[in-house]
C-alpha cells in the first residue's frame, strides 16, 4: 500500500466515522420529535411543547454538525478517489444526486421553519415541517445506503471500456437501487439510527430523573423514547439476521472474516467472543460448534467456505478487526434488547423511575448504539476490502492520480484538528443545553415548576 492510498483511506475512514455520529442521531431524534410534537398537538399539554422546543435545540446542534461534515464526504469522492468517481459516477453519482434533490433539500429547507418558525407559522404547519425534516433525513439515509449497497452487491449495470478507462454503466435503474443488499442494509442502518436517537433521549431523561429535575418532562420523554427503543432493538435482531444472510450469499469473504473462519470448506462455528490469529489462521474463544452453519443452512454440519477458499489477493486482511467489530455490534445489540425490555417491564411494574441503578445504566446507555453503529460500519466496510466496489474495482486502483501524499497528509491533519475541536465543542454545548434544561413557559398552570416535588404534578403517574 503506498502512502497516498494509506493516507486517503485513513482520511476517508476518519471523516466518515466522525460524520456517522451525527446523522443517525438526527434521524432517531427526528422521529422522537415528531412523537413529542404530535402528542403536544393532540393533548395541548404544555409539557410536550416545552419538551419539543428543548429537543429541537439539541437537534439543531446535531444536525448542523452532520451537514457540515457530510459535505466533506461528497467532495472527498472526487478529491481523493478520482478513478473511483469516474468508474461509478453513472451509478453512485445518480444516487448521490437523488439524495440531494429529494432528501437533503427537504430537510434543509424545513429545518429553518422548525428552528425559527415557532411564531411565524401555525402549530400545524410547524408540525408538518417537523415531519418533513424527519422524513428528509430518513430519505437521505435511504439514498446513501443504496449507493453504498451497490458497492457491496453491484447489480443492474454493465462494464464499458477497459483498464483505466473502464466504468460501470446503469442498465436497469431499479435493479441498481434495489440491489440484493439495499433493503436489508437500509433497514438495519435506519433502525440503528432510531436506537441512537432514542437512547440519547433516554440518557438525558434518566439524568434529569436522577437529579429530580424537570421530572414531568423527563418522564414523558423517557416513555416515548423507551417505546421507540424497545421496538427498534427487537426489530434490529431481525434486520441484523437478514443483513447477515445477504453477506452469506454475496460476500462470502466478509462472512468468513466476521466469524474468523479459515478452513476451505468445513462447518463453521459461531463465536460469542474470541480472538483471531490471522497468521496462524486460528480462532479461539467461546463458541457454538457449527453455529454459523446452523444459522445459514439450519444444519450444524453444513460446510461454509472459509477464507482459504478465496484467492489470497481477494481476502480482507484485517480479519481480527472485522471479527471484533462484528461481535461487539452483536453483543451490544443483545444488551440494548435486554435493557429496553427490562425498562418496559419496570414501567409496567410502576417502579421504573424509582430504580436508581437502572436510571444510572440508562444515563450511560447512550454510548452503546453509537459504538454499535460505528463497529457495524467498520464490519461492513473493512470486511469488503480489498474491494471498493465488490469484485469489480480495487481500493488501490480507485485513487486520484493527481494527488500527492503530502497534500493528503496536510488535509488529514487539518481535518483531525478541526474535528477534535468540533467534537470538544459539541460535547461542551450539548452538556450546556442539558444542564440548562427545557424552558418552562407557563408558570401558573397546574404545575408551578417542573423542579418542584413531583407528587404535586398530575402528569406523573408512576
Amino acid at each position: 500500500m503506498d502512502n497516498v492510498e494509506l493516507l486517503s483511506r485513513i482520511q476517508f475512514a476518519f471523516t466518515i466515522a466522525f460524520h456517522y455520529i451525527y446523522p443517525p442521531l438526527s434521524i432517531g431524534l427526528g422521529v422522537c420529535l415528531v412523537a413529542m410534537e404530535g402528542l403536544y398537538l393532540k393533548t395541548s399539554n404544555k409539557v410536550y411543547e416545552e419538551l419539543t422546543r428543548f429537543w429541537v435545540r439539541i437537534f439543531a446542534l446535531i444536525f448542523g454538525i452532520g451537514v457540515a461534515t457530510g459535505i466533506v464526504m461528497e467532495f472527498e469522492f472526487g478529491t481523493n478517489w478520482a478513478v473511483y468517481s469516474r468508474y461509478v459516477g453513472d451509478i453512485f453519482g445518480s444516487a448521490l444526486a437523488a439524495e440531494g434533490i429529494f432528501a437533503f433539500a427537504l430537510e434543509s429547507a424545513f429545518l429553518g421553519i422548525l428552528l425559527f418558525g415557532w411564531n411565524k407559522v401555525s402549530p400545524r404547519v410547524h408540525f408538518t415541517a417537523t415531519i418533513l425534516v424527519a422524513l428528509g433525513s430518513i430519505f437521505s439515509a435511504l439514498w446513501i445506503v443504496v449507493a453504498n449497497s451497490w458497492q457491496q452487491t453491484p447489480s443492474g449495470y454493465r462494464i464499458e471500456g477497459k483498464g483505466m478507462k473502464a466504468r460501470a454503466i446503469v442498465t436497469n435503474f431499479w435493479d441498481m437501487v434495489f440491489n440484493p443488499s439495499s433493503i436489508e442494509r437500509y433497514s438495519h442502518v435506519l433502525i440503528g439510527a432510531l436506537l441512537a436517537g432514542s437512547f440519547l433521549v433516554l440518557s438525558v431523561s434518566a439524568w434529569y430523573i436522577l437529579k429530580k429535575q424537570y421530572l414531568a418532562h423527563a418522564q414523558a420523554a423517557f416513555r416515548i423514547a423507551l417505546w421507540v427503543a424497545a421496538v427498534s432493538s427487537l426489530a434490529q435482531l431481525f434486520t441484523g439476521h437478514q443483513s447477515a444472510e445477504v453477506v452469506t450469499k454475496y460476500q462470502p469473504a466478509k462472512l468468513a472474516a466476521m466469524e474468523g473462519h479459515f478452513d476451505k470448506l468445513s462447518p463453521a462455528d459461531m463465536y460469542i467472543m474470541g480472538w483471531v490469529d490471522a497468521k496462524q489462521q486460528k480462532t479461539t474463544g467461546l463458541k457454538i460448534p457449527g453455529g454459523l452453519s446452523f444459522l445459514v443452512h439450519q444444519d450444524f454440519k453444513a460446510p461454509i467456505p472459509g477464507l482459504n477458499s478465496i484467492k489470497p489477493e481477494d481476502r480482507p486482511t484485517a480479519v481480527n478487526f472485522v471479527f471484533q467489530s462484528y461481535h461487539l455490534m452483536v453483543t451490544i445489540g443483545m444488551m440494548l434488547i435486554a435493557l429496553s425490555l427490562f425498562g418496559l417491564f419496570m414501567l409496567y411494574r410502576k417502579k421504573l423511575f424509582e430504580t436508581r441503578w437502572l436510571m444510572i445504566v440508562f444515563v450511560f446507555s447512550v454510548l452503546l448504539p453509537q459504538i454499535a453503529n460505528q463497529v457495524g460500519w467498520y464490519t461492513a466496510e473493512v470486511g469488503r476490502q480489498p474491494w471498493v466496489v465488490y469484485g469489480l474495482l480495487r481500493t488501490s486502483t480507485a485513487l486520484s492520480e493527481a494527488v500527492k501524499a503530502e497534500h493528503v497528509l496536510a488535509s488529514l491533519l487539518l481535518f483531525t484538528f478541526i474535528y477534535v475541536m468540533l467534537f470538544g465543542l459539541f460535547l461542551y454545548l450539548l452538556n450546556k443545553k442539558i444542564q440548562h434544561g427545557p424552558d418552562v413557559i407557563d408558570s401558573d398552570q397546574e404545575e408551578p415548576s417542573s423542579r418542584m416535588n413531583p407528587s404535586f404534578s398530575p402528569l406523573i403517574r408512576d
Binding site: 439543531a60 446542534l61 448542523g64 454538525i65 451537514v67 457540515a68 461534515t69 459535505i71 466533506v72 461528497e74 467532495f75 469522492f77 472526487g78 478529491t79 481523493n80 478520482a82 478513478v83 473511483y84 468517481s85 469516474r86 468508474y87 461509478v88 459516477g89 453513472d90 451509478i91 453512485f92 453519482g93 445518480s94 448521490l96 444526486a97 440531494g100 434533490i101 429529494f102 437533503f104 433539500a105 427537504l106 434543509s108 429547507a109 429545518l111 429553518g112 421553519i113 425559527f116 418558525g117 415557532w118 411564531n119 411565524k120 407559522v121 454503466i169 446503469v170 435503474f173 486520484s400 492520480e401 493527481a402 494527488v403 497534500h407 496536510a410 488535509s411 478541526i418 468540533l422 465543542l425
Partner: protein, 344 residues
C-alpha cells in the same frame, strides 16, 4: 444521439448544472456576502440582526452546492474526479471553511461571553471571505484553462493556480458577493444597521464595478478563447451588453434607494457572468491550456444516456419541489428581521 426536446442529454446536463451553480451563486452568494461584511457591524445587536437575516435560509442555500456537486458527479464523473483532485488543496480549504462557517453560525449565540462571540464573529467572517475567494480562484483558473495533457492528466503545479488573473477573478467574486449580501441585508433590516448598510452597499458596489471592469478588460486581452464565440455568433454579444447594463442598474438602484431592484440586479449579474463563462466553455467543461486534446468535452465526460435520462426525469420532478420549498421558506421569513427568543 439521444435527445429530449431537441437537445442532446449532455447539453441538458450542461445547462442544468449551470443553472444549479447559478442558483448557488445567487442564494449562497448573498449569505456568503453577508458573512464577509459581518465585522463591519460593530454593535452586538446589529451583528445578531445580520446573522438572523440569513439564519433560516443559509442551510437551504447551501443545498444548491450539494445538488450541483452531486449532479456534476452523476452527469460528468470524469470532470468531477479530475477537477476535484486537481484542485485538491483549494477544495480541502474550501471544505474546512464550510465547516467553520456552519459552526460559527450555530455556536455564536450559545454563550454570552464577549470573547466567545468575537471569536465566532471573526471565524464566520474569515470563512465566508475564504469560501468566496476560493470559489473565485477555481473559477479564474477554469476560465484560463488548466494544464492537462492529452490523457487529461494534470501536469502543472499547485503554485500556478495563484496567477494574477485568477487572483483578480477571486477578488471580483468576493466583491460581487459583498455587494449582493449588502443588498440582501438592506432589505431585511432597519434603523442603525440599515443606515450603515446603505453606505456599505454604496461602497461595495463601486468596488465591484472596479473589479468587474478590470476582469472584463483582462479577459478581453489575455483570454481570447472566452470571447471566440462572439466572432461566430455576433448576435450573442447582446449578453455582455446586458451584463454591463445590469451592473449599471445596480448603481442606479442604489442611488435611487430601490434596494429590492438592486438585489434582483445583482442576482441577474451573478447568473449572467456564469452564463458568459459557460458560453466560452461549451461544448467543453474543462479547458486545457497546454494541449487542446486535453480539453474535456461534455460528450467525453458524460455518463450513459440511460443514466442521464433517468436523472433528467428526477430533475424535472425534483427541481420544482426544491424551488417550491425555497419560495415557501423565504416567504415565511419575509419582512424585516425582529430578534426573538428563537433567534441566534
Amino acid at each position: 444521439m439521444d435527445t429530449v426536446l431537441g437537445i442532446d442529454l449532455p447539453t441538458w446536463w450542461f445547462l442544468l448544472i449551470g443553472a444549479l451553480i447559478s442558483g448557488y451563486g445567487i442564494l449562497d452568494g448573498f449569505d456568503l456576502g453577508a458573512g464577509a461584511l459581518h465585522l463591519f457591524f460593530r454593535k452586538e445587536e446589529s451583528r445578531r440582526i445580520a446573522l438572523n437575516a440569513i439564519g433560516p435560509v443559509w442551510d437551504g442555500n447551501e443545498v444548491w452546492l450539494v445538488i450541483g456537486a452531486g449532479s456534476l458527479f452523476a452527469a460528468f464523473p470524469l470532470v468531477y474526479g479530475t477537477l476535484l483532485s486537481v484542485f485538491y488543496l483549494p477544495f480541502m480549504l474550501f471544505l474546512v471553511a464550510i465547516i467553520l462557517r456552519a459552526i460559527s453560525i450555530e455556536f455564536r449565540s450559545k454563550e454570552t461571553m464577549k470573547w466567545w462571540r468575537q471569536l465566532w464573529d471573526v471565524s464566520f467572517c474569515v470563512s465566508s471571505i475564504l469560501i468566496s475567494l476560493l470559489l473565485g480562484l477555481i473559477l479564474g483558473n477554469l476560465i484560463q484553462g488548466i494544464p492537462l495533457d492529452a490523457n487529461h492528466r494534470f501536469v502543472g503545479r499547485l503554485r500556478d493556480f495563484f496567477n494574477p488573473y485568477a487572483l483578480l477573478v477571486s477578488v471580483t467574486v468576493l466583491s460581487l458577493f459583498m455587494m449582493h449580501g449588502a443588498m440582501y441585508l438592506i432589505m431585511k433590516t432597519e434603523d442603525r444597521i440599515f443606515a450603515r448598510l446603505t453606505i456599505i452597499a454604496n461602497n461595495s458596489s463601486k468596488f465591484f464595478i472596479l473589479c468587474f471592469m478590470a476582469t472584463s478588460m483582462a479577459t478581453l486581452i489575455y483570454i481570447p478563447h472566452m470571447i471566440a464565440i462572439f466572432k461566430n455568433y455576433p448576435e450573442l454579444f447582446v449578453l455582455p451588453i446586458a451584463a454591463v447594463l445590469i451592473v449599471l442598474n445596480i448603481r442606479r438602484s442604489i442611488e435611487k434607494r430601490q434596494y429590492r431592484r438592486g438585489f434582483v440586479s445583482s442576482s441577474i449579474t451573478t447568473a449572467l457572468l456564469l452564463i458568459l463563462f459557460a458560453m466560452g466553455l461549451y461544448p467543453n467543461l474543462v479547458l486545457s491550456n497546454v494541449d487542446p486534446k486535453g480539453h474535456i468535452s461534455i460528450y467525453e465526460a458524460a455518463s450513459s444516456d440511460a443514466s442521464l435520462r433517468t436523472m433528467l426525469l428526477f430533475a424535472f420532478i425534483g427541481m420544482p419541489l426544491v424551488a417550491t420549498y425555497t419560495v415557501f421558506v423565504f416567504w415565511t421569513f419575509r419582512g424585516k428581521v425582529k430578534l426573538e427568543e428563537n433567534s441566534y
